[in-house]
């Protein structure tokens, strides 16, 4: 009687209309369907009594005349409860941000892409579509077609000959409306900024050197991959899904492929799952080394960038040897793996991993002793354990605040059930703790890769997969280097998937960035943002974080700005005649 069955019993006992309709599709996956009026009570019961304390994501479906919503709730033990419900297209649904504050991103995405109406959603920046995208166009609707965007055709639909607004005109950027206080400086850390490897736009309200408020606008990387997946076959989708993000491409393709295999009921050979695990750990090694370098660069310690990326090249060579390409390996296929690891490659890999183990020990010693490094990292970007649980942070960000949330342990996939490894947690709750966790995970990955290479079973590496996947749906979770990555796939028996939903780990972590930036210095913004190891091309999500009382924006000329500040300082009592000593922070 696994605990998934006990939960099934509890649900059917509490709600008799659910009798027999709760489906246990896989060992840790519960599916159930309910009408929207009974949904609130069921949701409250699941979150409060059954202990589903983590909201993976909300998937929106276009089902002809009404909109389907699937709420994926997860338990620390790894069980995922998927609650399906549906409403008419123009019927509003109630926001669940009361239970999960991080839910507002998923709801904002429903509003933008599917035209859902959500009551109680806090006002914020538009996401994920561009600012000039017309409000009534919903790309993820089945009847919507990209041809609308061609020149002119947009005009016919709207009568007047207006061209789809993509011309270079003054776009209302995030900084044009004021989020700042009276005399704050609104600094745009814009799409092009040396600290950001990818385009996203922070507008930071500064009071001197202190951060008063941060507004994060993403969506610059939104390419519409989910819509693209619906127009391509399953096999073509592997190569599209793999290019969501350059650093964790294996994560996305493995999660996607294992979900499709679960729907098709394919059982992949043992050797294939071992090869997937090895490539997964090699990718985690190169991603963590990359992060170590970027973190060093963000705090001005470029030597760490040069050293860690020099060592990373060794791993890139191995990945190129194993899979043929340094990044975007393309080793997964539905039903198994495309290339085998030959026995003579194994000693080469183990030799390189041993040299890297020495080098990582040097980095661990460096992180524990280098004074300026510790000064810049400790006490920065603090995130307490309660905040992690409330905001739903995942991956090293959560584990550094002593929350042992690791999908490899809770909900093992590929060959992680037989891998001996321990979840690294740390109680520093700050960027320093995240550095320690990532370095610890590097050491774990080294030992795991060696273990997997040595006792990898023989046998075939893939199984024949049907071109048409039978109708069904599946949720797969994967522990990407940045955190938990969730894929939901719905198939309708044809060659193309009906719906592909990707929730990247950085999306869950961006919620926590605002909490970490409260009352910090501007100098800490790059390292705090880098500490969650953001991969915005996975995410292209956006939220508004701290919103000071929104004063209408008044353009001040230089003169009245000066008079204003002199008078403002007089109110503060700083008019030099009777100097009052300000409290030194």
């Amino acid at each position: 009687m696994t605990d998934a069955e006990t939960i099934k019993q509890k649900l059917e006992a509490k709600f008799n209309y659910l009798k027999g309709s709760v489906r246990l599709q896989r060992e840790k996956r519960l599916w159930l369907e309910t009408a929207y009026d009974k949904f609130a009570e069921l949701f409250d019961f699941a979150v409060k009594e059954l202990g589903f304390s983590f909201l993976c994501t909300i998937t929106g479906l276009d089902e002809g005349e009404n909109l389907g919503y699937i709420y994926h709730l997860a338990q620390p033990g790894g069980i995922v409860l998927n609650i399906k419900t549906r409403t008419k297209k123009n019927e509003p649904i109630k926001s669940i941000t009361a239970y999960f504050p991080s839910g507002n991103i998923y709801e904002r995405e429903l509003v933008d892409l599917l035209g859902a109406k959500v009551e109680g959603l806090i006002e914020g920046l538009r996401y994920p579509l561009p600012d000039d995208w017309p409000r009534d166009q919903y790309p993820l609707r089945k009847d919507w077609d990209a041809k609308v965007l061609e020149k002119g055709s947009y005009g016919e639909m709207h009568g007047e000959n207006v061209q789809m607004p993509i011309g270079p005109k003054q776009i209302k950027g995030p900084t044009s409306f004021s989020i700042a206080h009276k005399n704050d400086v609104t600094l745009p850390i814009g799409p092009q900024h040396p600290a950001l490897k990818e385009p996203e736009s922070f507008s930071v309200a500064l009071r001197g050197e202190k951060i008063a408020g941060v507004e994060l606008r993403l969506g610059y990387n939104h390419r519409g991959i989910e819509k693209g997946c619906e127009q391509r076959s399953y096999i073509q989708d592997i190569y599209l899904i793999e290019r969501i993000c350059g650093i964790c491409s294996h994560s996305h393709s493995t999660a996607y492929v294992s979900a499709v295999e679960e729907i098709a009921g394919l059982e992949i050979p043992k050797r294939a799952s071992y090869i997937r695990t090895i490539i997964a750990e090699l990718e985690r090694i190169h991603s963590h080394l990359l992060w170590l370098g970027v973190a060093g660069h963000e705090i001005g310690f470029d030597t760490l960038l040069m050293y860690s990326w020099r060592d990373r090249e060794a791993i890139m060579d191995i990945l190129a040897m194993l899979t043929g390409n340094r990044v975007n390996y393309g080793i997964n296929q539905i039903g198994g793996v495309r290339r085998d690891i030959t026995p003579d490659q194994v000693p080469q890999i183990i030799k390189v991993i041993e040299t890297l183990e020495e080098q990582t020990k040097y980095y661990i010693q460096l992180a524990l002793e280098e004074v300026t490094l510790i000064q810049r990292l400790s006490g920065v970007g603090v995130l307490s354990k309660e905040d992690v649980l409330r905001l739903g942070a995942v991956g090293p960000t959560a584990r550094a605040s002593s929350v042992p949330r690791d999908t490899r342990k809770d909900d093992p996939y590929a060959a992680y059930a037989e891998m001996p490894f321990k979840v690294i947690t740390d109680d520093h709750n700050d960027v320093y703790g995240r550095t320690i966790v990532r370095l610890g995970e590097l050491m774990e990955s080294y030992s795991m890769t060696k273990h997997a290479l040595i006792n990898m079973p023989d046998g075939p590496i893939s199984v024949k997969a049907p071109r048409k996947i039978p109708a069904g749906e599946a949720v797969s979770r994967y522990e990407a280097p940045r955190g938990e990555d969730v894929h939901y796939i719905k198939s309708n028996g044809t060659e193309n998937p009906e719906r592909v939903k990707v929730r990247a780990p950085t999306l869950a972590n961006t919620q926590a960035v605002s909490k970490m930036l409260e009352d910090r210095y501007l100098a800490d913004l790059p390292i705090v943002v880098a500490a969650i190891d953001p991969c915005f091309s996975c995410t292209d999500r956006s939220i508004s974080i701290i919103n000071l009382e929104n004063e209408h924006e008044k353009v001040m000329t230089w003169k009245d700005l000066r008079d204003y500040s002199v008078e403002w300082y007089k109110k503060q009592g700083v008019d030099f005649s009777k100097m009052k000593r300000r409290q030194f922070p």
Binding site: S203, K210, E553, V555, L561, R581, R582
Partner: protein
């Protein structure tokens, strides 16, 4: 050789570097096409309107006052006739005063 006294050397070199700056503008590239957003201030790609800003660095005011006071006292000390016993006493008093000021600044 009064020509080598600081003010005269400063003026000569000022004129020289200003001439150098003007002369090197003949080498600069002459643009033919339209300027576009060339002279708009850089804001990471965004088109930000509020540039006239007055950052509030009041957090460092105590250091600024301490710096000016100490600076003036150092200058006074520098103009003292060197070698006399008085200079020695004043120097010691100055150092003790500075150490005391530092202690107060950091104790609070």
């Amino acid at each position: 050789m009064i020509i080598l006294t600081p003010p005269i050397v400063f003026i000569i070199l000022l004129a020289f570097s200003w001439l150098l700056a003007m002369a090197s503008s003949i080498v600069a590239f002459k643009r033919k096409g339209p300027i576009g957003a060339l002279d708009k201030p850089y804001a990471g790609g965004e088109d930000v309107k509020k540039h006239r800003v007055q950052p509030d660095y009041s957090q460092f005011f105590p250091f600024a006052f301490f710096f000016t006071i100490l600076h003036v006292v150092t200058l006074v000390l520098a103009t003292f006739p060197v070698g006399s016993l008085g200079a020695f006493v004043v120097a010691v008093v100055y150092i003790v005063g500075a150490m005391l000021g530092l202690y107060i600044l950091f104790r609070r």
